[in-house]
Amino acid sequence: MGTPRSSRQSLVMSARANLAAALSRWLGNGLLLAITSVAAIGVLFILFFIARDAVPFFQLRGFKEFFTSTHWYPSQEPVEFGALSIFVGSGLVTLGAALVAAPLGVAAALCLSDVLPFGVRQAVKPVIEMLAAIPSVAYGFFALVVFAPWLQRLGAITGTNALNVSIILGIMALPTVVSVSEDALQAVGRELREGSYALGATRAETLLRTIVPAASSGILAAVLLGIMRALGETMVVWMASGNAAQIPDPWFNFLEPVRTLTATIAGDMGEADHVTGSARYHVLFAMGLCLLLFCFACNLISEWVVSIQRRKLKGE
């Protein structure tokens, strides 16, 4: 009868070893959590520090002028900080970008997920990745140095206008729209498609009547994320929007130059950063805060929308 190997390590830990193990496990977990929190808390830090420098502006100047006036004269006495035209400018180019990116992106996503054969899809993927990878300053450079003269040759009075920026921003937002909505379309699953085809529906009917409605919230999230990208983009609008703080006449005249929040921050900080504490400095943070809050809202809505779709597909 083989004796149980007495030289074996005992299974039972001593009280001290037990405590040490528990402690190190606890510490390790805590440390990991702490490090992870640094990444996560970053976003709260951003919110706090932008807000901290934005609040003095509202204390100094109030809300009314900032949101309702179109008189933007930050550098000449008496200073005026009416940012309405800048908000309109941001809105206009974002709208334009959405008009370019949404139909094009959703159509491309439908084509990628349901029309093209696998091999072609693999070939298209790098195109999307390259569009996403090109740095924004290169897009801006293209918009200013190549695209603006083209537009001018086509008859626009100035090539650096809302149209130029809208098109380029639309192209920049395309990869986001395409890949997120393609994911949403893929998530719908084969059963639904097969069910529709089995009833004799054509591909277009299947997609438009069955798949797109099922994936609609995901597609909405994709468009929202694309809009976020366009709204938050700086270099292209700074370089190619013309930077005129005015509301186009009529408001949808894309051929006029506009000025956006991001470009104003980028352009004015150079003159303002030496005078921290002035309204001139804080107004830029106020604009940053508005951008940030809008992006938070977009992000949360898109996450919420996606979770709704996930639940719907699960049948809950």
Binding site: M1, Q9, L11, M13
Partner: protein, 292 residues
């Protein structure tokens, strides 16, 4: 080279003489002693009492009480989903990896309740090795695969590691095939070789118990035979607990067989008896292929 000579285990007397060689079972001799005789003559290595396993609220293994004898081969059979793998993985607490899994009752190994708070799981798993359903070598060299366990437990000297790697590979009957390419990737081996590598990896930490979770289900018949032969060779040196859905395999390799159905231990006894004269109707239905 006989695998057992390496650590002088040859001739360890199991106390049962030749009566429980697997071949005896297969040869159809009738003199099978009843279960309590076996358990009296050998020590119980693992013993459970009213042992249940839950996935959240779902009781996957229900109040099992059984004793598994030392240095014999015990097979656990049953239809898929009956909880046999769950039970096996409870023996070295692999179920800890699954969130929401908890147990009640007792599971004793070497007389110690392994679900006690004070248990060092690392030492438990070192003493209770495991071979999985699909061969799962690490994407490392053959040598590093086998040396992984010993290194984990603090062995760093090269000569000692070399020795352990060789012994383990010899025991797993893989040494001759790989001794010239120990530094190549373990994933480059064939399926059967990979599974033997995994066996060697488990043996390298010198365990007392080997848990095998359907170790041949992903292998071809030839590789299966090799693994079964190996089980026969390791029998007597290790306590082997094997889960299989293949009843022929259970009959070929094991001394004792437990039949699980829907989480309940229906019947447990010497393999020969269970397969020829089952006491329970459910067992008979299962082994004659009426369900499962």
């Amino acid at each position: 080279m006989s695998p057992a000579t390496q650590d002088g285990r040859t001739g360890v007397d199991t106390g049962l003489g030749d009566r429980f060689k697997p071949s005896n079972v297969a040869s159809g001799r009738e003199d099978v002693p009843p279960l309590h005789d076996i358990l009296e003559q050998t020590e119980a290595h693992v013993a459970t009492r009213d042992f249940s396993i839950f996935y959240r609220d779902n009781e996957a293994v229900k109040k099992i009480t059984m004793e598994i004898p030392m240095r014999l081969v015990t097979a656990i059979i049953g239809p898929s989903g009956c909880g046999k793998s769950t039970l096996l993985r409870a023996i070295n607490r692999m179920n800890d990896l699954i969130p929401g899994c908890h147990t009640t009752g007792e599971m004793r190994f070497d007389g110690q309740d392994i679900y006690d708070k004070k248990i060092d799981v690392a030492i438990l798993r070192r003493r209770v090795g495991m071979v999985f359903q699909k061969p799962n070598p690490f994407p490392k060299s053959i040598y590093d695969n086998v040396a992984y366990g010993p290194r984990l437990h603090g062995i760093t000297r090269h000569s000692r590691l070399d020795e352990i790697v060789q012994r383990s590979l010899v025991q797993a009957a893989l040494w001759e095939e790989v001794k010239d390419r120990l530094d190549t990737n373990g994933l480059g081996l064939s399926g059967g070789q990979q599974q033997r590598l995994c066996l060697a990896r488990a043996l390298a930490v010198d365990p007392e118990i080997l848990l095998m979770d359907e170790p041949t289900s992903a292998l071809d018949p030839r590789a299966t035979t090799r693994i079964e032969d190996l089980i026969g060779e390791l029998r007597g040196s290790y306590t082997i607990i094997i889960v299989t859905h293949n009843m022929q395999q259970a009959a070929r390799v094991s001394d004792l067989t437990a039949f699980l159905y829907e989480g309940v231990l229906v019947e447990y006894g010497p393999t020969k008896q269970l397969f020829t004269k089952p006491r329970e109707k459910q067992t008979e239905d299962y082994i004659t292929g009426r369900f499962g």
